[in-house]
Symmetry: D2
Subunit: 411 residues, 4 copies
């Protein structure tokens, strides 16, 4: 820890026990004025209690910021990412990763407004979130000071933390006395759970860990079929009803939850170096990914799609690692957005006990051409004999190679 003493700190404040302890610790450790920032990213909790708690802890009303960022979150972060079909390590829909840059961005905006010289987050020293928050802070405000209490303070145990809380009259809910059996992050895109009961990757996650979806076994025996409308790569309607970004996602979340869709039990490689196991629930996002692939399948050129698929692997890694505001992410976004200009139309998706299956896609912008593909001789000028030349020239280098290898006994 440096000698730096912040005067005014913007704290990402949930209203929960841990960030309340941090709030008090900032005051006692640094004598700093604390500004709380609580965002509605669709995590499904009321925000007003956070305001009341902050007030009760002595924060001045003008130092309490509570923002509904749901539309911005989906429109400017979730949707651009879904244009890429981004999956980390082939499976993870990046639900936590994509929320961090927005929180960092808003925190910095508030720091500028209130003239704060530091920002503070409650992420631990072993996780990815500290990296995502701080890369965001630094990229947007290079000279801001960052306070990461979990890396700095001296509490040796949960008991010591709770003692500190009690000493400072921070109310501790009864069920927080013992240790939580796992920890949770949530927003409009997903919920994640990790730690404790999940730490042995050989052991199946207990059902009580899941909070956002019902089990496929408990989902209706009847499939639900929906139609999702897309414009330029983004979902804009469900069953013909135009919806705002956040509303589309919320609606898909309900549909996904009810049909047991979007559960993932994953061991992943963290940017900070170790492997960790998480349970992710991304009900709406899982449907959205399938549907987006569906609309791309008829409207996106093959060359564009193949390039996108390659770029998406790196793109997902960048987001996972916290490089949302890095120029290389912006370069890839430019390429990806360019590809989505004609990705519009509708997709029918069947939802059934954990499955989100595309069963139809339609678009005035479709590149699918029944006449070209038909077994019948089409009316179009597809000359079967062209294929012979196509193959011959594609084969040429392979033939030359094999002749060489024979000549020399090689390969």
């Amino acid at each position: 820890m440096s000698d730096f003493k912040p005067k005014k700190v913007v704290l990402a404040y949930s209203g929960g026990l841990d960030t309340s302890i941090i709030l008090k610790w900032l005051e006692t450790e640094y004598g700093a004025e604390v500004v709380t920032f609580t965002a509605d990213l669709g995590q499904g909790e009321e925000l007003e209690p956070a305001r009341e708690k902050a007030l009760r802890m002595g924060i001045k009303p003008e130092n309490i910021f509570i923002d509904d960022l749901r539309e911005e979150f989906v429109r400017d972060f979730v949707f651009p990412m879904f244009r890429a079909n981004a999956l980390y390590e082939g499976q993870y829909l990046l639900g936590t990763s994509i929320a961090r840059p927005l929180i960092a961005k808003r925190q910095i905006e508030i720091a500028r407004m209130v003239g704060a010289d530091a920002v503070c987050h409650g992420a631990t020293g072993k996780g990815n979130d500290q990296v995502r928050f701080e890369l965001g802070y630094y990229a947007l405000e290079p000279d801001i000071r960052v306070i990461a209490p979990w890396r700095e303070w001296d509490f040796k145990s949960r008991e010591a933390l709770l003692d500190f809380a009690e000493k400072h009259q921070i109310p501790i809910a009864k069920d927080k006395r013992g240790e939580a059996p796992f920890s949770v992050d949530a927003n409009l895109l997903h919920s994640s759970s990790e730690g404790k009961v999940l730490e042995d990757p050989a052991v199946e996650a207990p059902e009580f860990v899941y909070q956002r979806t019902i089990a496929p076994e408990d989902a209706p025996d009847q499939a639900t079929v929906i139609t999702i409308g897309f414009e330029r790569g983004d979902a804009v309607s469900i069953d013909g009803e135009a919806l705002s970004p956040a509303t589309v996602l919320a609606r898909l979340n309900d549909l996904g939850r009810d049909n047991g869709i979007g559960r993932l039990d994953l061991v992943e490689g963290r940017f900070v170096g170790m492997k960790s196991r998480g349970i992710y629930e991304t009900p709406g996002g899982t449907i959205l990914l399938a549907a987006h692939r569906g609309i791309e399948s008829i409207t996106l050129d093959r060359g564009a799609m193949h390039l996108k698929d390659e770029l998406a692997v790196r793109y997902a890694q960048m987001i996972y690692n916290g490089f949302w505001f890095a120029p290389e992410r912006e370069m890839l976004q430019a390429a990806i957005d360019k590809s989505q200009e004609q990705v519009s139309g509708t997709v029918r998706v069947k939802l059934y006990k954990g499955n989100a299956t595309v069963i139809g896609r339609e678009s005035p912008l479709s590149l699918y051409d029944q006449d070209l593909v038909t077994f019948e001789e089409g009316v179009q000028a597809y000359d079967h004999r062209d294929a012979a030349g196509f193959i011959k020239l594609n084969a040429l280098r392979l033939r030359v190679l094999e002749r060489r290898n024979r000549r020399t006994g090689g390969a």
Copy 2:
């Protein structure tokens, strides 16, 4: 069509109507001696009828080749591909694509044995399979002549074809009189269906198209949990029973079929240029992919996995396009195989109504380290403060960039 007149042709012969017509056409058009080659790739059909048909059509016994290639298929083609987690356009498990190189290879081997100067396949002029077959032929035997009847002959309609068949006493099954409502390819890895009733991608595929899996709706209400053992990236056992490659896959196919797993309705971009719609059923492969990702998640280093994920996109395109025998595919295979040396252990997978979900993974080679990841202070030397330096240096260029942009009003 060139003036070339083949003397002896090895024909990839299924015993069905179409390749029987081709057989006769080769004789009448070219006066060529025909050698038939019929492979068991696990398509689920008896091969002996093909022998009888060939005999009845006048093929000499020594010119009839019938080979059981199932083990070679899975061991040398399917498994190496699954080491890469290859998916074409994000979704297709390449079931047809991966079988073609083996057929081509065996056909060339037979051509050498019998001294044939040409090979012949029954793929159409609009599809990918002609490319895959012929790139295989040319790569292995650069000076072989290739006959692709569908690109060459003059039959203007199905009617004309059937007339030819009748004229040459080729028996036509009653149900072949009318046109098939769709066309099928099958092997141990998958079945594909396309054409006719599937040609409108907006319309849901009728249930009767599916032949290899039951519908998720019809699958048992009880989940089935299995344990798959892996060695060096390949599945070697199920529930503790050691199994050969083909037997593992066959067993997984049964499990997948019974649980409604592995259906895919896809519009894809063909190498020959148009988009087409196919229904794929890959029951065992779908389980295998999930399980392989599962065992990799604990045994494969993050750097290796991320590189693999990037390479896999190209690798899948190469296989789809027919470049199995190309040096660039072999280069990627060398890299992928290198990564699998320690990918051994067991994965538990839950099968339930279309879902194949990894619920546990275990390995003596695991890289997952509970002590490193735990929220508790681990005994290992993970110093939380290291994260501060890690973030600081990762952020450095972003801070310099933003300072520059401010200085100059840029970006």
Copy 3:
């Protein structure tokens, strides 16, 4: 050749013997009305003789199009490509490849203006240029008919061609009687030579092949130092003098030529499958590449540069193969252009006997920070101890891996 009979054909016409023969052949073979299109791309030849020749061959004045495309060529094709530092097979600056799309584009524009139903080029059936022209035509005007005489006509030998020329009163320059010792393409970016005397790649190219540069040995013994100004990735001035795109390149060509810069003797892999050997002279482009790398080195973020370097390999292949108008090229261009927004400043380059060496770079947008890099303790907050944490976390997965390997005797 199909039965299609074009009524009106736009011919890419150089005025030389070969395209004059094509002109006449189009008339006699098809009875088509021929529209000639001759472009000034900086190839260094007068265009008016082409007009006169066309007139003399009976082309109507309104059917003769002669366009100075030099500025468009450099501004919209050469410069965007140089933003990527594109090199094909590590070495070739794509001088021929980048000109073809523009010719195709203009030819199609003229076809629309005059209501032509076909376009025609003089590229041979073994080269890349036919591909580049025709992919351009088809991408811009999907239903245009393309005539490629070298793939279609029956002339069996050069003699037969000349006979046809004589029969149709096409004047044959004396030195064209015999065969040219090599063939040439030229534009403002480069000259290429190939064929005949160059066909053995073991034999050094004779000095008389080079036409655009003097030999390094013949260049001045004194170095020339110039300063090139860049804005947003494009060269905009030399030694402080603002210049148009074509003028910058022309000036650099002069400087390069005089200093023996930009010669390349290369064996490359053609898109149509065989390897070929070419001599390329790209005097100005070689200087431009070095200078562009120079200005990027101080103004472009590391993450952006590394991504660009990876993308550039594919980008170069796309241009070489003729996919300028393909969406995947446009996607990459969007990413590359995004990266160039702050690539402005000046670079000093020393030209000396074949070498173009960057010796200084300067920019108000520089990301180079003397204070950060100095061996002295800088005033800036670079804490050496941050490096320890940075290394520790980067090493973590490698340590876990090696511990695993020891435990299990693996790897």
Copy 4:
């Protein structure tokens, strides 16, 4: 700095002032027994003086390790890297980067032999070398302790360091009193210079910085032509004389030096985050890269080469960043080595005043086929009309795309 007190430390010891100070500091600060390790990597300095110095400083003879690693360096590090044509940021031949892993490896081997519990290097806290050393240490010996004095000690200035030296009777050469005008690293592959007089990237590097090459202006007016023989991608002979790896490189260094070849003035992005400017001299390596590209140009398949070119960008970044012992580097190496199996033959290179120009290449394994490429109709079966089909199918998706765009007014 942790509380760890090493008992026995293996120090990478050059015998110079700085590492002598470190040696003494390790003794006084930690009371550790010091083991010195001095490697001959071809840096061109005598090693025996290092032994004497170590002895004079009181190191026990059995604790002094002096190893000639030149052959291992070139054979197992430099040559594998050159198989990839690796260039960092398009230009840097990685001369320093590639030496670090070998030093780290040998240092760890010695630590095991002598039972040391720590290793120590003299790299500073702002550079890449600390990362390269330490990633090497940790990858090979995960529980080794690493001491990096420049990040740990409290000397505030060069003066303080020299005082420490004097106090401990470490002899200080007169010219070391003042500050060196730049700092140097050297090995058989290259010399690098950075710092002080080079810190302003706008200012040309003074001639006295160059130590390894003469200026192009001072090189002979007569070109030197040499023939380099390759086997499986590695240089094995010069002008027909078989040479060991280190001898080949040494010979090429002499030739390069005498012809002013291999100078590079570069601003590069360091892994630790800032940009720095270096002067690199890689005389032999520059020739080797050109020659290797030359032999590949006739013996390496196009598909393999293009894939290699893409992989090489990442591969170079891995080496630069110090990930030589990471599994992803080994994966790429496997792919690259696979490609080199037939890269054998000879290349003629002309050396002249800074230029290394390939003028001829020859190989019994050549893929170049004069008959295929000739303008004459070759005897081989290259049918010009195949090109028509090849183009048609490559164009198909672009035509479908443009038709769509017109239909809808899109793109």
